[in-house]
Symmetry: C2
Subunit: 369 residues, 2 copies
């Protein structure tokens, strides 16, 4: 069996484990940087490895449009194409179709849409999403889902019904195999009964892993944490749990405490391209005048290439001068920051001091002391 | 003595040597990538080292405007600021003032201009250029010169007279010291007698190194080579010779043969940002449809990170998708290509087969076989 999840230790709802995949082990909890178009923006694969990345996410919607999943398959699959030999997860394309594309028609069978790049017409169904993800060849692939705005009950109800139906079709199109594990996605917005309805259906399909979708898409942080309190326990304890699209450091800390194992988000690299960086004392924009002559590293505790070598003054200069090296250095740091947070929370779980660690981290990060 | 030039071997006019500097030895002939704003665009310092870079150029004009040379000085100088611990060369600012800024007034004493960034007013004189370059702290600094269009004799005559006068003032403002070597710049356009007039004056000032300015600024390649034939021998044999702003592979080969030791150019990184790359068979644009499914590396002979890992198909995808990683990978390759050319020509000089090597390289690169 090439794909299985070991829970090694729990503390409260939190878990430390290992997710075994055909391309290597993932120590959980884990943060996965996002390589939308088969590249984590500005960061070479060897740097990803250096900052401790074990899982990279890439986007089905984008790769389908460009360069096309048949091309990626013919060139040896996504690992070979982007030269990332570790585990990869691809999303289903659902989220991007609904957020980026121009929707022509949505029905119970699937979605017809126009590319945001060139207006070309495409159709995604559960079966198409599976076929594309099989071409790409990621270790973890995702069921095709509909992610609705989380607070409109009527809309969420329809999306849950459709997501359940599509999950069953994905499971049929892609039964368990040794190469790719298919995860189901729980929807239900902020409504506990709809989350339970979605989870119950997915549990019946016995997926090797489960994701929570439809959060961090507009609701408040308090609503998100309250929803997590309710919906994480609905997922099987012995399977990996993946909270999609969440990447703020405080959200990661809150979600690990509630039993999440896997995260992905564009946040660290997107913020970097706007000059914003994570520090233990909260995020800062390094372009500010304040940092003009600051000789300190971004984060004195950080072991990344950026913090080990460059001053805030130099990074500010790169940002002000719009230099490409700034995107690289700040991205490397931001990714390392989230990965180190996950490494430290994992250690805290093993050492049964997660509560204290999390409280201490959050107080400092949110400046509540 | 921290700064001196050893000629180890000559073949015809070509020379192989070592330029000793306070920040390490430079094996010549050498190509220096350009870090205009204290960063070689998209390439981290450790990658520069990896591709064999021994000398980096940075621009006085740009660093004066942003972040300011006093700030760089206060933060420990340019080596510390940009974390490049090898040798650095700064230009005088003259070329950029005349090509980028809005000139308000030019007189025998200096130039008053407005910044291309924010329109702010500045004045460069020979003494100001020396003071800025002393603040930056490069190992090699350049005399403040006026670089004219190379074919208008009357304009070139004035520029030569002014450049001579300014060279004397730079030499006085910056006598030989252990930290920074000041190079004089020969001007004279395509006119041999003006080149000789300029050289004779500079030789009288006994600089530790000499540059040839005012070429590759609009004249034909044939004119440039003919001018080099005449003007390189005007420079002292025992001092390093630097051909400014030349970076096309065929021009490098032609100029090494004629006795040039040092080159700099933005070409490898600028081309990279437009998807163009050097190969032994000439330069190609990797964005072309032709490369869509090409599994080969850019250059099968190349030992760089890009060629050792990535396919042309992937690089084409990065270029078409406008991904930042493309700038990095293509820049790394293009810089490595020029540095390897210099390494191979150096070896050919030692092995007394430079003629054959150069002919073979040029025939293949220019596709004349």
């Amino acid at each position: 069996m090439t794909f299985y999840f070991e829970r090694l230790k729990t503390q409260g709802a939190a878990r430390a484990g290992i997710l075994h995949t055909p391309h290597g082990d993932i120590l959980t909890p884990v943060f996965a940087p996002v390589g939308t178009q088969a590249t984590v923006k500005a960061v070479p694969p060897r740097d990803l490895r250096e900052v401790g990345t074990s899982l990279v996410l890439s986007n089905t919607y984008h790769l389908h449009l460009r360069p096309g999943s048949d091309l990626v398959r013919d060139l040896g699959g996504l690992h070979q194409f982007m030269q990332w030999q570790g585990p990869i997860l691809t999303d289903s394309g659902g989220f991007q179709v609904f957020s980026l594309a121009h929707i022509n028609r949505i029905d119970d069978d699937g979605v017809t849409f126009q590319s945001h790049i060139d207006g070309s017409r495409h159709r995604f169904t559960p079966e198409v999403s599976m076929a594309i993800q099989e071409n790409l060849g990621a270790d973890i692939i995702m069921a095709f889902d509909q992610c609705p705005p989380p607070t409109d009950r009527a809309v969420v109800e329809t999306a849950v019904a459709r997501t359940s139906d599509w999950a069953a079709r994905c499971r049929e199109a892609h039964p368990d195999d040794a190469r790719q594990a298919l995860f189901g996605i729980q929807q239900g917005g902020i409504f506990a009964d709809l989350r339970e309805q979605s989870s119950a259906f997915l549990r019946g399909l016995d997926f090797p892993g489960y994701a929570i979708g439809g959060l961090a898409v507009g609701e408040s942080k308090a609503e998100m944490y309250a929803t997590l309190d309710q919906c994480v326990p609905m997922l099987p304890e012995d399977k990996p749990r993946y909270l999609m699209g969440v990447g703020a450091p405080d959200d990661l800390a809150q979600a690990v405490k509630r039993g999440i194992d896997i995260f992905d988000c564009v946040l660290p690299t997107r913020l970097a391209r706007h000059g914003a960086v994570f520090t233990p004392d909260g995020s800062i924009n390094i372009g500010r005048e304040l940092f003009k002559r600051d000789e300190r590293p971004l984060d004195a505790d950080c072991d990344c290439y950026c913090c080990q070598n460059f001053s805030r003054a130099y990074l500010r200069h790169l940002v002000k001068a719009k230099e490409l090296l700034g995107h690289y250095l700040l991205s490397v740091h931001n990714i390392r920051f989230l990965i180190r947070l996950m490494e430290e929370m994992r250690r805290a779980i093993f050492e049964e001091r997660l509560e204290a660690y999390t409280q201490c981290f959050l107080e400092r990060y949110l400046q509540t002391v």
